[in-house]
Symmetry: C2
Subunit: 355 residues, 2 copies
DNA sequence: ACCTCCAATTGAAAGGTTTCAAGTTCAGCT
DNA sequence: AGCTGAACTTGAAACCTTTCAATTGGAGGT
């Protein structure tokens, strides 16, 4: 250790120096005004070549990093949008996020992903923080699509787009999938394959999605001229693999005479759990039990017996939602849209009679 | 269309009030100074009860939302940390993020999750944005742990913690898992079960993780006194389900005499792909082929044949990394730590000789 | 009455940037 | 030489908040 050293005069200290350099320091070092430095950053065409080069050198020397806060304090808006997702463990939502990100990227906007993890307190913490952060807007798959906060945010100036959920009225842009149709597609497929007793595995009914899928299933059954009790209800308390296993055990416990020969699950996690139980109990899929899932997550195709599933256009869902949000944030003449995408049945081994 | 209209003096905005209310508007409405309003927000104990109540009413009336930018412009730091994850489709990273979030939450800090999706350009875009955003710090599972940017960020004042990767020296806090040990555990288990030819399925070798896991596997083989070629290399170009399927086909194509009776996969996605191929080709698991995966993602336990897998303490990984980061951001006497967690073998049906 | 002290409150400065009206320079023209 | 206009540059205001030194008002003590 040497003793006190006098001020090194020309220390270009990008390393661990004192305070981070600001636009003012850059201006000083380059011998120009702050306005010019700002122009180099935001309107390069207004600045002469020579000056620009000099400023850029100064920036590099000082390790200058623009301060986003100050920048956005002026403009009043950040260049960030956020997606508050319901359950990051469900790959479906990850893919929705991917779609959002794609559209956001194209608009040069960053995506801030949050996971409410199905907990109301987490959701509201995030919404508050995001509002204070002045994000351009919020995409959300809400726990409760009718929560008051979803109205308050737009009223206070933060646009909100609701993803994968419906909501009455046109107070928001909404992007969802026709779950009644999806349920109907799944069950129609099973009926066409000759099944006459079909298990419906899903719940809880507090989720609109789940209700709709069941409704669709029922519709398919009655439209085929079958009695409504051809659809055997096996309710679950959550859309998880564990609940799927559980439902599988209940299904296996039914008397052989009335046991369904096919099952429609309200999502793929349930279907994977069911499949697992089947393998464990030596119930052959699809010979003894045909299975249809919902969401068509990648793991559905990758299951030991690839799952037939109802595919939702996840990426499109995200992309479209993001486009709506960016429009609402930027376009003064924005009008809310409600889009309902059409799901599609993807047939795989889990419903295919012997090959 | 009407003809020219004179300037409407109090332009009725379509949705939401006019400009968002600021601290100044609140002060005016409550009949106090801006300083007092700020105190209500940040030092409530300095303000009398009566005044506080009055200010709070005014805030509610005006729908006041504090402006995070302005607030943080003063303090110079946001209350946000970010995690740049390698691949959001791999549930392993989602769980790491969950651990981070837990620790961040406890410190009243928000987590901003980004997905580099294995693309260098995405990674660097995010790092730049985050630096400009002045996040408190960045947690990252980098594509290349030796990239220069990982040194530059801390030099310029943004702490960086490296998650699930190693790096020479102690220039950063680092949180990783002993992958050599993990590989050894997996293969020891197979050797103990009597397997004498074991496939190693993994790649690309550019990933340090993957190299280490293979190294551990090799170590187990030689330590058991077996010839190194008891480990049959089947390299993959990525850690994905599709590559696992592909490797499975190659494995099945080997002459029966030399075909391994067990496989160790460098991650669970590969193992799931392999399992899928086995089921398709009527190769019984574990009777014909025992399988060990790596990561112990939830889907591993949920596979049709539940997978034996090497569990990494994912949540702890995240929690610890976040703690290090917060310390580095807040504690002037911070010292870098390198932690190496110990993995653990979770035995399930995919390696269990008939029950 | 007067003084002291404390709690509560105030007002202005500071933080880093963008914007924009105003200023400067200089080449080209007459 | 003097003028014009384009190209470039400047400097100060504004964005919204927090901080902090200074001020106010009033209770308690003498």
């Amino acid at each position: 250790m040497t003793t006190a050293k006098s001020n090194p005069p020309e220390a270009p200290r990008p390393t661990g120096g004192s305070k981070p350099a600001g636009i003012k320091d850059v201006a000083e070092r380059a011998g120009v005004s702050v306005g010019t430095v700002s122009n180099v950053l935001n309107h390069p065409e207004r600045v002469s070549h020579r000056t620009k080069a000099r400023v850029e050198t100064a920036m590099a020397d000082l390790g200058f990093v623009p301060n986003e806060f100050a920048r956005q304090l002026r403009s009043g808006r950040s260049n960030t949008v956020a997606y508050v997702m319901l359950d990051a463990s469900n790959p479906f939502f990850i893919d929705v996020a991917r779609g959002i990100e794609e559209a956001a990227d194209a608009a040069d906007v960053s995506l801030f992903s949050c996971n409410s993890d199905n907990r109301v307190s987490r959701e509201s913490t995030y919404l508050n923080r995001l509002e204070q952060q002045r994000v351009q807007g919020i995409l959300i798959t809400p726990i409760d699509p009718d929560a008051a906060i979803l109205d308050e945010l737009p009223q206070r100036g933060t646009p909100v787009v609701i993803v994968d959920r419906n909501r009455g009225g046109n107070t928001h842009c909404t992007v969802a999938v026709d779950d009644v149709l999806g349920g109907a597609l799944a069950v129609q497929h099973l009926i066409e394959a000759g099944h006459e007793r079909i298990a419906y595995i899903g719940g809880p009914d507090t989720l609109g999605q789940v209700r709709d899928r069941r409704l669709g299933a029922l519709k398919a059954v009655t439209e085929a001229g079958m009695a409504p009790d051809a659809l055997v209800d096996l309710r679950t308390s959550a859309l998880s693999v564990a609940e799927g296993r559980n439902a599988g055990e209940r299904l296996a416990g039914l008397p052989a005479a009335t046991r369904p020969t096919a099952a429609f699950c309200a999502n793929d996690l349930l279907a994977l759990g069911l499949l697992q139980t089947c393998v464990g109990l030596r119930i052959r899929v699809p010979t003894d039990l045909a299975i249809v899932g919902y969401d068509d997550i990648d793991f559905a195709a990758a299951a030991a017996v690839p799952l037939t599933s109802v595919r939702q256009p996840r990426l499109d869902l995200g992309r479209t939602a993001a486009k709506f949000l960016l429009d609402e944030a930027g376009n003064p003449n924005h009008e809310h849209s409600q889009v309902l995408f059409t799901p599609e049945l993807v047939v795989r081994a889990s419903t295919q009679r012997r090959q």
